[in-house]
């Protein structure tokens, strides 16, 4: 692969997010990942082609080592079945998680807070009259509880990257201990793992070792620190950030020509 860089403006913010996610998945070559539907699935396909050819993909609807030839439009799409080692159902898709076999979970969501908690259930209002009901809890809660680590991908907007999520779907670093709902570190509930990073449309965020609060680790070329601060719903520490590597022409070409030629995921 040639290291020819794409010019800023020749790719979308969503494409940049997917490419940087695929690069991050290089950390998981040879590892087992439970991949969520939507853009995580797209990024995992790019990663398999470029950065982690031996990554093993599990899907919560029961495919072991999925190797799709065409991009699936849904986690139930038979495009994920053909080429898998094994096709069972949702129980067999999720039991590897709860028996501690899954090295990483990779999910999207609608809202993420400074502790890496993710919301995919509802935004605003309350449960009885939610301002906006979302797709629901689905496997995102199970991935957050059981995976050895999680990777989160989401567009970077002020209302999405917030102080605390409206509904805690996927446990991050500081989670709720019931019945009181007290905020505690996840270890206190016996939960391993926790989010490795949050890859947004503007940069890559990680979490402090001590207080587990999110900080900016990388900003994408063409994005300023001011833009990131303006689009974050809490006072994010950007003092340790440096610029991420530029997007490659080959990454964009693969995304557009081979992975999603019909633009099913509206990345461009």
């Amino acid at each position: 692969m040639t290291k020819e860089y794409a010019k800023i403006g020749e790719y979308s913010a969503v494409e940049a997010m997917v490419c940087h996610s695929a690069r991050f998945l290089a950390n998981f070559d040879g590892k087992k990942g439970l991949i969520g539907t939507g853009l995580p699935l797209v990024a995992s396909q790019l990663a398999k082609k470029l950065y982690s050819p031996n990554m093993i993909i599990f899907i919560e609807t029961g495919q072991a080592d999925a190797n799709p030839q065409e991009l699936a439009i849904s986690i139930m799409d038979s495009r994920l079945t053909y080429g898998s080692s094994w096709q069972m159902g949702d129980p067999e898709g999720l039991y590897p998680l709860s028996r501690n076999e899954i090295d990483f979970g990779f999910i999207g969501g609608a809202q993420i807070d400074k502790y890496g908690n993710v919301n995919s259930t509802f935004i605003g209002g309350d449960y009885n009259k939610p301002a906006k009901r979302l797709a629901g809890t689905a496997g995102a809660v199970d991935i957050g509880v059981f995976a050895k680590t999680t990777v989160i991908l989401m567009a970077h907007q002020k209302r999405r990257v917030c102080e605390f999520v409206d509904y805690l779907t996927t446990p991050g670093w500081m989670v709720k201990k019931w019945p009181e709902g007290t905020l505690v570190r996840r270890e206190e509930l016996g939960l391993q793992g926790g989010p490795s990073c949050f890859i947004s449309s503007m940069g890559i965020c990680k979490f402090n070792d001590d207080d587990k609060v999110m900080y900016l680790d990388k900003y994408f070329p063409g994005i300023t620190l001011e833009q990131i601060k303006e689009n974050t719903g809490f006072d994010i520490d950007v003092s340790r950030a440096d610029e991420a590597d530029h997007i490659l022409v080959d990454e964009i070409r693969l995304l557009r020509e081979e992975i999603d030629p019909l633009n099913i995921y509206k990345m461009r």
Partner: protein, 329 residues
């Protein structure tokens, strides 16, 4: 507890093969109902249409409010739901479910994906509950958002809903800390759609089984709708490839294209424009009513439904070997 899982008494049938309207006649108002498979694949769509046509009401749905359920919710057939998903994959959120929820006419009770599985597992193995760490730390355990009381109030058969949603205890066996006791999640009825079934109820599925191989053992009445009834003897030549035993099934209905517009692996692919049109239409009450009129209430028979779709449209959806879907290239 055991009688929760007793099969519903019914007239002894010498032949399980029935018409769709006869099968759906067995679904009662207030039933806890599991519609088979997941999201937009191998969904019992013809059965959902028939539920709308027969104007069932007060149903409590399990697992999801996706493609099949959203139509039933929009038509006022369902009052509540316990599950983990209210979307239709890349088509967006389930439009009627969102509208009814936000209008206070439909009551969702959120659980996790593993909760559905463990709840079905408990019912399947005849255990009143199982223990798991699933959902610890999340708002699934937030008692202010708990709708268990509403489910009890609405259920036709109160015995199908547990007294409470969960119980937290300390692991008494391996010192693993906090664990959740999760009650069994039985259903009054499950309706699944399969690629093949025999006349005695044995069924064969391709693609993800979703929860079907669990819920057929966790439901008091099981209806299998199928693309194709094949001789039972044919399926029994290779029983390892069958996922649903005849003993779990009460009724079998043959409905070619019965999963349309969802995908049925090996038979046909997703009808993308059809689902897009539904999702756009169902965003408003008026649009939904128009859609239900056009595709369900004004359609007098399955033949008329298929004629309305047209041969060329259906041919364009046909799956091909060996992949089992219709390749885009």
């Amino acid at each position: 507890m055991n009688n929760l899982f007793d099969k519903r008494p019914r007239l002894a049938r010498s032949n399980k093969v029935v018409s769709l309207s006869e099968a759906i006649d067995e679904i009662r108002n207030g039933d806890v109902l599991m519609m088979g498979s997941f999201v937009d694949t191998r969904r019992p769509m013809a059965a959902a249409y028939e539920i709308v046509r027969q104007q069932k009401h007060n149903l409590i749905l399990l697992a999801q409010c996706s493609l099949a359920e959203d139509i039933m919710v929009g038509a006022g057939c369902a009052i509540a739901w316990r599950g983990c998903y209210t979307g239709i994959a890349t088509f967006g959120l389930s439009p009627a479910t969102l509208r009814k929820t936000e209008a206070g006419k439909f009551f969702p009770d959120e659980i996790g994906h593993l909760d559905i599985i463990y709840g079905a597992l408990a019912a399947m193995v005849g255990s009143p509950f199982v223990a798991t760490r699933a959902t610890l730390g999340s708002d699934v355990l937030n008692d202010q958002l708990d709708r268990n009381r509403i489910l009890i109030d609405k259920a036709g058969n109160k015995a199908m809903i547990p007294k409470k949603k969960f119980e937290l205890i300390e692991d008494p066996f391996y010192n693993q800390g906090l664990v959740k006791l999760l009650p069994a999640m039985p259903a009054d009825a499950a309706i699944i759609h399969t690629q093949m079934a025999g006349e005695k109820g044995t069924a064969r599925i391709s693609g993800s089984l979703a929860f079907d191989h669990y819920f057929v053992h966790a439901a008091r009445t099981v209806i299998v709708t199928t693309e194709q009834i094949v001789p039972e003897e044919y399926l029994r030549r290779d029983p390892n490839r069958n996922q649903i035993p005849c003993t779990a099934v009460d009724m079998v209905v043959e409905i070619p294209w019965g999963g349309h517009p969802s995908q049925v692996m090996g038979y046909y692919d997703t009808d993308i424009p059809f689902i897009r049109d539904y999702v756009l239409s169902a965003r408003t009450d008026e649009g939904f009513e128009r859609w239900v009129g056009e595709w369900i209430l004004d359609v007098k028979s399955r033949d008329q439904y298929l004629d309305k779709l047209g041969a060329s449209r259906l041919e364009g959806l046909r799956a091909a070997d060996p992949q089992g879907y219709r390749s885009r290239s």
